[in-house]
């Protein structure tokens, strides 16, 4: 697509709210439509600053401005990210309110060409106090030629300064030196030769220690970017010695700043924004069978880790083992397995996930992870104690890297599974899972019961009764769906128990409500006298003590049903159940008692709670 033909296309302008990854703000830019895709073209600007948030707890702001050409960033770009708070003291300057801010800011300025950095790019991280620069926390200056860093660069942070040289093709070369404000000479040195890291030199206690990382004898090498994966590789090559490399830290920090920008630009269009340092690493290629083999191994290791975590983090086991000898022994065994097998093996997964397996000598893995020798299988709890996991097979010993590791991982998984089974119900997690499953099944069956009841209510003619039961059912469904959205934690199980109890009450309440129409018929009949009318010579029904039955039917029951309909609440359910259970018998009781005073008091009594009290029932519900 030539620029000319592109210019012939129509450009649209967008101005409004926009979201790029985790950055959400107001954007204005231009774009063209090409085969349904949005092609950014022209100036781009995006920003977010929330005064309200700033005045409240703090604001995370950003400003991004630049331009695109054919969907690739091109031209001058500026990024500013800030996390600010304010003391909220505002000043009126002219006709503008000014507020002082304090916090951190990350600023990046440079030029892009064809989606890659070009020219000098500076990243600055600063600490701001009261809108003044208090301290520069980080600064990196790298000169690029279309994405390839050139000549030398400089990274400063706190009291350190790192300078290094790069060849034309981006390969690290010569000495990368770290200076400190405290020392006169270099504190750390990485010596490269055309990308190969020959050795590192670290000043420790006035002594310069030299560490040959990769060694000299490589057969194959590969050029990879100097990024966090490379730094991890360096860590591995020094394992188990821990490294406190400041250069590593600075390079890592720089890489993270570049990653932030790259994330944004790559989401918007097509870009590749990297520091671009290239290094050579030894290359030990994997063939396809090896790739599969290592992949399987990593799965085994992952499984072992999960099992180990389950056992070691089980809260119930922590308590049980203090009184149960066998549990304690199994627990100790699990710890041993973790320390000697699972944890070291975990490193392999890390290497694989960062794509570094091809750059390590796999045969060295065994000796590196276990410098004191591969642990003897089976792992024992205590020296001399016959804590045997009889059902666990120990594979044939193998010297070769992958085979040996497989053997170890396999054993770890089996041993841990056996331990888990032996612990059985002492593991809360298992018990918890079982209980949770049981509770959830119970919840479903309770829901079904509620639904069934409501459907059998199709013949219910009383709308109040119908509505109350429908409200209960809706609430039950809501509780269960809310529960199913919970993350699986220990709280989920206790919540399941709560909801189960609640649904139980709802079921009971529904049953009581369904009884209401029949109960009313009984009450009506009980409160009916048969009178002989001599004038018609017929027997007529006459309802007696109307005030009591009216109070029940017109005040009490509608109130109860209305409250249930409006507030199908778990806590209140029990109270309603009790009320509905005691009210009808009480009314029937009153038929034969002397109730003249009661009837007088009930006259014109509209407040349901008063009615409840007068009838001798426990008042439930809100004050009206």
């Amino acid at each position: 697509m030539t620029a000319a033909s592109l210019q012939a296309q129509e450009t649209h302008d967008y101005k409004g709210h926009y979201r790029v990854g985790e950055y959400s703000g107001e954007a204005s830019f231009s774009y063209a439509l090409k085969e349904g895709d949005t092609v950014l073209q022209g100036p781009f600007r995006m920003q977010k600053s929330d005064l309200g948030a700033l005045l409240e707890a703090g604001d995370k702001t950003f400003t991004i401005s630049g331009a695109f050409l054919d969907n690739k960033p091109a031209g001058a770009w500026q990024f500013r990210f800030g996390a600010f708070k304010t003391d909220s003291l505002a000043q009126l300057d002219g006709l503008q309110y000014q507020v002082k801010v304090s916090g951190r800011q990350h600023e990046a300025i440079g030029v892009m060409r064809e989606g890659k950095p070009d020219g000098l790019w500076t990243h600055t991280g600063s600490r701001i106090r009261n809108s003044q620069l208090e301290k520069t926390l980080f600064r990196s200056s790298i000169r690029f030629d279309q994405g390839v860093p050139q000549k030398s660069f400089r990274i400063e942070a706190e009291e350190h300064t790192l300078v290094g040289r790069i060849l034309r093709n981006g390969l690290a070369h010569d000495e990368w030196t770290l200076y400190s404000d405290r020392e006169t000479g270099p504190v750390e040195n990485w010596i490269f030769r055309e990308g190969k890291l020959l050795r590192t030199e670290v000043l420790e206690d006035s002594e310069t220690l030299s560490h040959p990382i990769f060694g000299q004898d490589w057969e194959l090498s590969r050029s990879i970017p100097l990024d966090t994966a490379y730094l991890a590789l360096l860590e591995w090559y020094q394992y188990p010695d821990s490294t406190t490399s400041v250069i590593s830290r600075l390079l890592s920090e720089n890489a993270s700043y570049y990653r932030e920008i790259d994330g944004i630009l790559s989401t918007l269009g097509k870009a590749s924004y990297r520091p671009g340092f290239q290094v050579l690493v030894p290359f030990y290629p994997l063939d396809t069978t090896e790739v599969a083999g290592w992949s399987n191994l990593c799965e085994q290791i992952h499984q072992a880790k999960t099992l180990n975590d389950e056992i070691l983090q089980d809260p119930q086991l922590q308590i049980v083992r203090r009184s149960d000898e066998e549990a304690q022994a199994l627990y100790t065994l699990s710890i041993r397995i973790h320390a000697s097998l699972t944890q070291p093996l975990g490193y392999i997964v890390k290497l694989r996930d960062q794509g570094l397996l091809e750059y390590v000598k796999r045969d060295d893995i065994l000796t590196r992870l276990w410098p004191d020798g591969v642990p003897e299988l089976p792992i024992r709890a205590d020296e001399g104690e016959a804590m045997q996991l009889n059902d666990v097979m120990v594979g044939a010993t193998a010297d070769k890297g992958l085979g040996a590791l497989e053997r170890l991982a396999d054993y770890a998984v089996q041993a841990l599974q056996s331990i888990k089974e032996r612990l059985g119900p002492r593991l809360a997690l298992q018990k918890q899972q079982r209980e949770q499953a049981r509770l959830e099944k119970g919840l479903i069956s309770q829901l079904d019961e509620l639904n069934f009841r409501q459907d059998s209510m199709a013949v219910q003619r009383d709308p109040d009764v119908r509505d109350a039961i429908a409200a209960l059912r809706t609430e039950a469904e809501r509780l269960v769906s809310e529960y199913s959205g919970l993350p699986p934690t220990a709280e989920k199980t206790s919540r399941a128990r709560e909801i189960s109890a609640c649904l139980d009450h709802f079921n009971q309440l529904t049953q009581e409500i369904m009884k209401l129409p029949d109960q009313w018929e009984t009450i009506k009949n009980t409160y009916t006298d048969q009178i002989w009318n001599p004038f018609t010579a017929t027997i007529m029904d006459e309802s007696v003590k109307r005030r009591i039955t009216a109070a029940y039917r017109d005040v009490l029951i509608p109130y109860v049903l209305e409250e249930i309909r409006l507030q199908p609440d778990c806590e209140l359910a029990e109270n309603w159940i009790e009320l509905l259970k005691t009210a009808p018998p009480r009314i029937l009781e009153l038929r034969d008692s002397d109730t003249s005073r009661l009837e007088r008091k009930l006259r014109r009594e509209k407040d349901p709670r008063n009615v409840m009290e007068l009838l001798g029932l426990k008042p439930v519900g809100n004050e009206k």
Partner: protein, 280 residues
């Protein structure tokens, strides 16, 4: 032929004359002969307004005290129906409920008669006494109820003249009443009913010569049952009957009637047995 017809006519005339002479001879106070009209004569209808209260007060499981008080108004020259008070009735009795379908009563009546003749110089008020008994049959014919009432009264009454004496008569009454519920299929509070009834009142006694038909009453009322104990009704009655003086002369009247029926039960029985269980 002609001779025979003339002779028969003469014979009849003579017989009538003798008859009346004979009648006048039997009656105590009548002295003039009564002349029968050629065709039955109907006096001008009398318009009346009756306010009747019927009380049936339950005194025990099977006994009811009938307490009726009626106010009968009749017309004056200036005002129809309600012009003046005619009689005030007090009828009381004890009634025995034999079953749902039969009851019998025995009691008395004190009726106060007011002199309604505006020109009369005689007494204004004269009391009248009766002893009566009745037998009522109820016949359900769903949704109607049919009632047969046989009432027999022994009556002492007298005129307004100063020297008039009490005469004794027996009254033989049969009433057929039908009650038709209008807005339901059974009688219950809130029911409107229509009640046509017809009563035939026959009288007999020494003074009753040729006027056995005292009153034929045809009434229709519309009633409303308020509660099992309270009913109201109102309607119109047409009545006619022979006058005591002259059997050929009939009196008639149109009467508006307003009824109040009440049946209180003052018994303080805890568990009043349902009325149907009269045999318990």
């Amino acid at each position: 032929m002609r001779n025979n017809r003339l002779k028969t006519q003469q014979l009849i005339r003579a017989a009538v004359l003798v008859f009346f002479l004979g009648v006048s001879g039997i009656g105590c106070s009548q002295e003039q002969p009564v002349i029968l009209p050629e065709a039955s004569q109907y006096k001008e209808p009398l318009s009346r307004f009756w306010i009747n209260t019927y009380g049936n007060i339950r005194v025990s499981q099977r006994l009811i005290w009938i307490a009726e008080t009626h106010f009968r108004f009749q017309e004056t020259e200036d005002m129809p129906f309600l012009g003046q008070i005619g009689q005030i009735y007090n009828r009381h009795a004890i009634s025995y409920i034999y079953s749902k379908y039969f009851n019998a009563s025995l009691g008395g009546v004190l009726r106060v008669n007011f002199n309604t003749d505006p020109l009369s110089e005689e007494k204004n008020v004269v009391p009248e006494f009766r002893i009566w008994h009745q037998y009522q049959f109820a016949q359900p014919l769903s949704p109607l109820m049919i009632y047969h009432r046989i009432r027999i009264e022994h009556r002492w009454s007298k005129g307004f003249a100063d020297n008039s004496d009490y005469i004794f008569r027996n009254r033989w009454r049969y009433m057929l009443r039908i009650k038709i519920p209008l807005n339901s299929r059974k009688f219950e509070p809130g029911t409107w009913y229509l009640s046509p009834e017809s009563e035939l009142i026959m009288q007999s006694g020494k003074e009753v010569v040729g006027s056995p038909l005292e009153d034929l009453r045809l009434t229709t009322t519309l009633g409303y049952i308020l509660t099992p104990r309270l009913t109201i009704a109102g309607g119109l009655m047409y009545s006619q009957g022979q006058t005591l003086d002259n059997p050929g002369v009939f009196k008639q009247g149109w009467t508006f009637r307003a009824h109040l029926y009440y049946a209180p039960d003052f018994r303080r029985v805890r568990n009043k047995l349902p009325a149907i269980h009269l045999e318990d």
